[in-house]
């Protein structure tokens, strides 16, 4: 972002940047930087908190009226309480994880399909509550996503799309799968933290166990595309570390 700010400013566009990594702002010295103490992925603080989001946006805009260039780095003062787990959050999907036999591809596919079916009402509820429908990167239906992802427990399947390799479709399908589960588990509100949501997915679902198995199966293989997709883009670093993978 800081480099983009520099290029745009050189072209005559005034810029103000919300910064999540202070050291990067210090290194690049873009004109205006508001450092915020939020977790990566939450530059405006928290979902469902418009007052906080507006406050952060306004603080970034206010830098545009400041003198003091060539580079301002301002710290947004916040205690980070928005990152704390919500003690009263009720996980409506708590019992929907299905046991899975990773040695049997058909059983793994069936376990994922059972979860996807069970979670559908919650996904629809979350879409209605939030106005957000985050599945749709792969261009596949949920049934196709389950089929394509689980197939990689065996030999790589043909690509279901003419314009993308099978490995690329796997990356997008895995993104859609995670988006589906993590949107479903957010149904009902209650302001769960990102950790509460993601821990449920990675620790209690067949889908996560399949993704973890795909990482283990392909990350050291000879297929360069699958090595990158499964080794780097399948399981978050925090989960690799936390689950001891």
């Amino acid at each position: 972002m800081s480099a983009l700010g520099h290029y745009l400013e050189e072209e005559g566009i005034a810029t103000t940047i919300i910064s999540l990594i202070r050291v990067h702002s210090e290194k690049v010295q873009a004109p205006r930087n508001l450092f915020v103490p939020f977790e990566l992925g939450r530059p405006l603080g928290a979902p469902g908190n418009p007052a906080l989001q507006k406050q952060v946006l306004k603080a970034a805009l206010d830098l545009l009226e400041r003198e003091g260039g060539p580079s301002i780095i301002e710290d947004y003062d916040d205690d980070g309480v928005y990152q704390a787990p919500a003690a009263d959050w009720v996980n409506l999907a708590a019992d929907m994880g299905v046991d899975v036999d990773l040695g049997d591809m058909d059983a793994a596919r069936a376990a994922m399909q059972a979860e996807v079916t069970a979670l559908k009402p919650l996904y629809d509820q979350a879409v209605a509550e939030t106005g957000r429908d985050p599945v749709g990167v792969s261009g596949l239906s949920m049934d196709q996503i389950v089929d394509h992802v689980s197939a990689f427990l065996g030999d790589p399947p043909d690509s279901p799309r003419d314009d993308l390799s099978s490995g690329m479709v796997l990356r997008y399908a895995a993104d859609d799968l995670k988006a589906y589960y993590l949107q479903a588990v957010a149904a009902g509100g209650g302001d769960p933290s990102s950790v509460q949501l993601t821990d449920w997915f990675w620790q209690q679902t067949a889908a996560a166990k399949v993704l973890i198995a795909l990482r283990a199966r392909w990350k050291d293989g000879e297929d360069k595309s699958l090595k990158v997709v499964c080794g780097n883009f399948m399981v978050p670093h925090m989960q690799v570390h936390g689950l001891g993978l």
């Binding site: 972002m1 480099a3 005034a14 530059p43 805009l61 979350a126 570390h241």
Partner: protein, 153 residues
């Protein structure tokens, strides 16, 4: 509390030690009072309309998101899995505050909202984005946009 505290020490070091570009010039543009500015949002979240081409690894281009886009149709194909996506999934304004910018135009905080807004994908060498960024500046000027809020994920 700092943003990186929920990452492993290894990942914090990785991000902290990431090589950043350095520049000789020190550009500083001031187009006047905020209440007269025409403002666009530029994200590095790798977000786009579901019908657009998703981002690939090393993709240094940008996608256009009209100000009147339906939040329901904005998806994310960022290559990194090492940041929270649940905020984006629940509330587009949590990373791409189009509705807040519209409110600020309505209450006179800013002059107006740009016709279009944009997303690049972070985790890409910033030097590779330079040509697209400069081309984008021309598009912004054609829409009389003088100010950009840059928002990472």
């Amino acid at each position: 509390m700092v943003a990186l505290s929920n990452l492993t020490e290894h990942y914090q070091k990785l991000l902290g030690n990431l090589e950043c570009p350095s520049f000789e010039s020190e550009p500083w543009v001031n187009p006047g009072p905020l209440k007269d500015r025409r403002v666009t949002i530029i994200s590095s979240g790798g977000i786009h309309h579901r019908d657009e081409v998703p981002f690939k690894g090393g993709d240094f281009g940008y996608r256009t998101i009209p100000a009147n886009a339906d939040a329901r149709d904005i998806v994310m194909s960022h290559v990194s899995v090492n940041f929270d996506r649940t905020a984006f999934q629940q509330d587009l304004d949590a990373i791409f505050p189009l509705s807040h910018l519209a409110d600020m135009a309505a209450d006179g905080t800013i002059g107006s909202v740009a016709t279009d807004h944009y997303s690049f994908m972070g985790a890409t060498d910033p030097a590779l984005m330079e040509d697209d960024a400069r081309e984008l500046a021309g598009r912004l000027q054609a829409d009389n946009v003088d100010t950009a809020v840059l928002i990472p994920v």
